[in-house]
């Protein structure tokens, strides 16, 4: 009985922490303006759409991996999945939730685009260092 209560409480807290943590990652990157180059590559101009997330993540995988970014992009990927699940289930019944999930999915895409920009800059630095040496 005790273990069941702990399990339920922990799962509820886990979900709350997960959503807040993912949103804090997004909030920290949302003010970062995208360069014209990344805007061209991703097709994101003013606001991003959730539909573009997979495409941006695919582009992200083409760049050399950075350990400090890996955790963030995995967390946002999981958050995006959770939003997709909400969108396909509960949000069908609650229209305001549908609009909210759409906004959040768009912000996930923007986060991925910002990470892409950082990886491109990192690759450029590495390339420049190789040329120098």
């Amino acid at each position: 009985m005790m273990a069941a209560i702990i399990l339920v409480c922990s799962v509820v807290f886990l979900l709350q922490f997960f959503v807040s943590y993912s949103r804090s990652l997004i909030a920290a990157s949302i003010k970062h303006p995208l360069s014209a180059e990344v805007q061209d590559v991703t097709g994101i101009k003013d606001s991003a759409s959730g539909e573009d997330f997979d495409r941006v993540v695919q582009l992200l995988h083409l760049c050399p991996d950075r350990p400090e970014d890996r955790n963030g992009i995995q967390a946002i990927g999981a958050y995006f999945g959770l939003l997709g699940f909400l969108r396909a289930s509960v949000a069908r019944l609650v229209p305001s939730l549908l609009a909210w999930t759409e906004t959040e999915r768009g912000q996930c895409t923007y986060f991925a685009a910002v990470t892409l920009e950082r990886r491109i800059a990192f690759s450029r630095d590495m390339f420049a260092q190789q040329l120098e040496s």
Partner: protein, 212 residues
């Protein structure tokens, strides 16, 4: 730890960094123990659970330092320390009372139970801290991310222990899951130290599941 050192945040978050150093030593010890005696050996099991208990107590105190950061303006450090010690003592007493009734290997079971109970106490304390952050409108992005990632880690481990108690046959699935999850906290903290400057700010009310 390296990220915190490079960004000049080592002393500011001293206990968090010491926990990471301790974690590294324990993981090395576990690796040596498992390669020396094997995964199912008694030596490894003892080392695993005793070191886990020490790490949990360390992480509990690391959480208390995060409390001190959030309540720094109120000069409540003394009360936080006192409260943390009392709660730790209370948890230890409760664990002893539970274990004493039903166990032959008292010390070992006490250590395992204490660790499990502290994970749950850690979840609740982190949740209370998160509530305080929202209430006090704390805006330091790095601190917020450190707290939230710690909350995620604690709640995952508490849930994991609860599942293992409810369904002991599933331990083969959930023990490796703990190892995978164990990577999360160092990476999340590395991200917070490396990517986020100390002066970065955000509005925490926007992060809550139910917007305030």
């Amino acid at each position: 730890m390296v990220c915190a050192l490079k960004k000049g945040a080592f002393r500011r978050y001293l206990l968090l960094n010491l926990y990471m150093a301790c974690l590294l030593c324990v993981e090395l010890g576990r690796y040596i123990s498992v390669s020396e005696y094997g995964l199912k050996s008694t030596q490894f099991q003892y080392f695993y659970f005793y070191s886990d208990a020490i790490l949990t107590i360390f992480l509990y105190f690391a959480l208390c330092t995060l409390y001190s950061h959030v309540f720094s303006e109120m000069k409540a450090e003394r009360y936080v320390k006192l409260g943390a010690l009392l709660l730790l003592a209370g948890t230890a007493l409760f664990t002893y009372a539970v274990v004493q009734q039903s166990s032959a290997k008292l010390v070992t079971h006490f250590v395992v139970e204490l660790s499990q109970n502290l994970y749950f106490v850690g979840v609740v304390l982190t949740y209370v801290l998160w509530g305080a952050i929202l209430k006090l409108r704390e805006t330091r992005t790095r601190l917020i991310q450190l707290v939230l990632s710690l909350g995620l880690y604690f709640s995952f481990l508490a849930a994991n222990y609860a599942v293992r108690n409810l369904y002991p046959s599933l331990h083969t699935v959930f023990i490796p899951l703990v190892q995978i999850c164990g990577i999360f906290l160092p990476l999340a903290w590395a991200y917070a130290f490396w990517r986020l400057p100390e002066e970065a700010r955000l509005v925490p009310a926007r992060l809550a599941v139910i917007p305030r």
